[in-house]
Amino acid sequence: MSQLVFIVFQDNDDSRYLAEAVMDDNPHAEMQHQPAMIRIQAEKRLVMNRETMEEKLGRDWDVQEMLINVISIGGNVDEDDDHFILEWK
């Protein structure tokens, strides 16, 4: 059986960078647009890297900043200073 993890962002300016970064770092992920939101799902694992985001934004970025734009997640969370990971092991 397939086991999807997912993350949903508010569709706003910050999230467009977030979504782009997630798609760059997770080639197996699938992005869906629904009214006012962006939903990304992937088999087993999704990772968000601080480094990728900082490159996209051209500034320092704290992983916890994403808390402002996230609507929902599915999967076990592992967060530290450099990344945010969602996964089913």
């Binding site: 009214p35 006012a36 916890q64 609507i71 997640i73 967060e79 530290d80 092991k89």
Partner: protein, 511 residues
């Protein structure tokens, strides 16, 4: 020697917060300080194993929450200044907000109280901190929702006395009793009920597709509070999953206890969300996603992945999930046809779906809508056209546990009413389902105390014996303004005048 001023990383910061907030008591017994920690039978051997993956500390908590609030209130202001209510898809939509304000927002407040109380019960500092932050979040949700919807209260009926209605109105006892049931349980059951079963497994269905639907219907204020609340929810959901894993890892004796709670609270939550099924399919004039599609994504798919992950702890999916999965084809239609009949006693209006909406439902519910539900609407429409808009004057039989009228049908038999009954200490009790009956059988002493609105009316505890008195005096529903059919209601007329359309009967008056 120069002191190196090292910046703490997330893990260290979180450790300091949760380690320094806990200490071993010396002049009081631990048992006296945390008297409710073990009566449920849950065994915790090592609280230091508690991990909050977000590792949010108070300084970042306030920083991010303040930013969320600023964004949110900027949108509320813009919405009000631009008369945003005039840009929604249709005034029928506002009825979903009436249900939200009276049914959901008070639950946010109940969640605030629940987490504040429950957090006090744990001897582990990590759990206390998590509950404390969540209590503040939930208070924020309750407040921002009331602020957002207060704008609608200036322009539409039925939003004027939400807290009062929540405590009294018959169908609002469904959400109210759900949360009261959780809050009167022990601390570990409360977390399993609300953090895990409700927030992790089920609330996506309300806050994600429904809120996306609010945006699609032009309601920027609601989608913004919805998503702003939900950004806290991502943390709450994570907590829900961590709580379950923590309890299960602590002791194998915890597994059967937790499994029973998951079975119970999945079912209680599913019954509560039947109200949301109707909000999605019937109360959003512009449709985004059907209830059955949302159920497939947010329960069958995500819940499936989750319960597969929990297998390694010896946890299986909720006992009655098959019944819930089967019900996705029927739920919203059974609910709406019931509310349609009882609109004389609700603070919101109901209506027969328009032709395009019914066609949409035929498409989304190919096996059930045309066969079972369209004919009902055609009949009701004919009655209404003949001047006999149907209102049911018999008060419904409520389920002793979930308090929903016994309106559901049996799995795989959509014309057979689902009903169970049993006798306990000489009294007969009624249930909507096997699952609710089973919940009762396990804790009869709790559920015989249920405050069932219909019984209360018959017992004379609601300021009168006839529907009109109860509705007006006891519920504070303004008759002829808040209740009855949508077509021809003051809300409907107001909407027509906003849109520059003259209602038919005003034409007559002018003539």
């Amino acid at each position: 020697m120069a002191v190196q001023n090292k910046k703490l990383n997330l893990k260290d910061k979180y450790q300091y917060l949760t380690r320094d907030m806990g200490w071993e008591p010396t002049y009081q017994k631990k048992k006296d300080i945390f008297p409710d920690e073990d009566f449920e039978g849950i065994k915790i051997t090592d609280w230091s194993q508690w991990e909050d993956p977000f590792r949010l500390t108070m300084d970042s908590y306030w920083k991010y929450q303040a930013e969320k609030e600023k964004k949110l209130y900027a949108i509320f202001d813009a919405f009000a200044q631009n008369n945003g209510h005039q840009n929604i898809s249709d005034a029928r939509y506002v009825n979903a907000l009436k249900l939200f304000l009276t049914g959901v927002s008070p639950l946010e407040h109940a969640a605030f109280q629940g987490y504040a109380k429950t957090g006090r019960q744990f001897s582990g500092a990590g759990a206390r901190v998590a509950c404390q932050m969540q209590a503040i979040d939930e208070l924020r949700h309750s407040q921002t929702q009331q602020h957002a919807m207060s704008h609608y209260n200036k322009h539409f009926n039925g939003l004027h006395d939400a807290a009062h209605m929540h405590d009294r109105v018959w169908f609002l006892s469904v959400p109210k009793s759900f949360f009261d049931d959780a809050r009167t349980a022990g601390p570990f059951e409360f977390l399993t009920a609300i953090s895990f079963s409700f927030e992790y497994v089920l609330t996506n269905l309300l806050f994600v597709p429904f809120m996306s639907g609010a945006a699609y219907n032009g309601d920027m204020a609601t989608v913004t509070f919805g998503f702003s609340a939900q950004s806290d929810e991502a943390r709450h959901m994570t907590l829900g999953l961590e709580v379950i894993k923590f309890i299960l890892e602590q002791h194998e004796d915890n597994v059967p206890i937790v499994q029973r709670w998951i079975d119970k609270w999945f079912w209680r939550g599913f019954r509560l969300l039947s109200l949301v099924s109707m909000m999605m399919d019937y109360m959003l004039p512009n449709k985004v996603m059907s209830w059955s599609e949302a159920w497939e994504v947010y329960y069958e798919q995500n819940g499936g992945a989750l319960f597969k992950d929990l297998e390694r702890y010896g946890i299986r999916p909720p006992k009655y999930q098959d019944v819930a999965n089967d019900a996705k084809h029927h739920l919203s239609h059974q609910l709406w046809t019931t509310f349609y009949q009882y609109s004389q006693a609700t603070n919101f209006h109901t209506w027969i779906p328009e032709k395009e909406e019914m066609d949409w439902m035929s498409e989304k519910y190919p096996d059930t809508f045309d066969k079972y539900y369209r004919p009902r609407y055609e009949h009701l429409a004919k009655e209404a056209a003949a001047g006999r808009r149907f209102y049911n004057n018999t008060l419904p039989q409520l389920c002793q546990v979930c308090q929903v009228p016994t309106l559901f049908t049996e799995m795989g038999a959509p014309t057979k009413l689902s009903h169970r009954q049993l006798k306990y200490e000489g009294e007969r009790y009624h249930f909507c389902s096997e699952a609710c009956c089973e919940i009762f059988e396990h804790e009869p002493e709790k559920y015989i105390q249920a405050w069932l609105p219909v019984h209360q009316i018959y017992q004379g505890n609601c300021e009168g014996a006839d529907v009109e008195t109860v509705v007006q005096k006891y519920y504070h529903i303004n008759i002829g303004e808040d209740n009855f059919e949508y077509l021809g209601s003051p809300d409907h007329k107001r909407w027509l005048s906003i849109k520059g359309v003259k209602p038919a009967d005003e034409d007559k008056n002018a003539a």
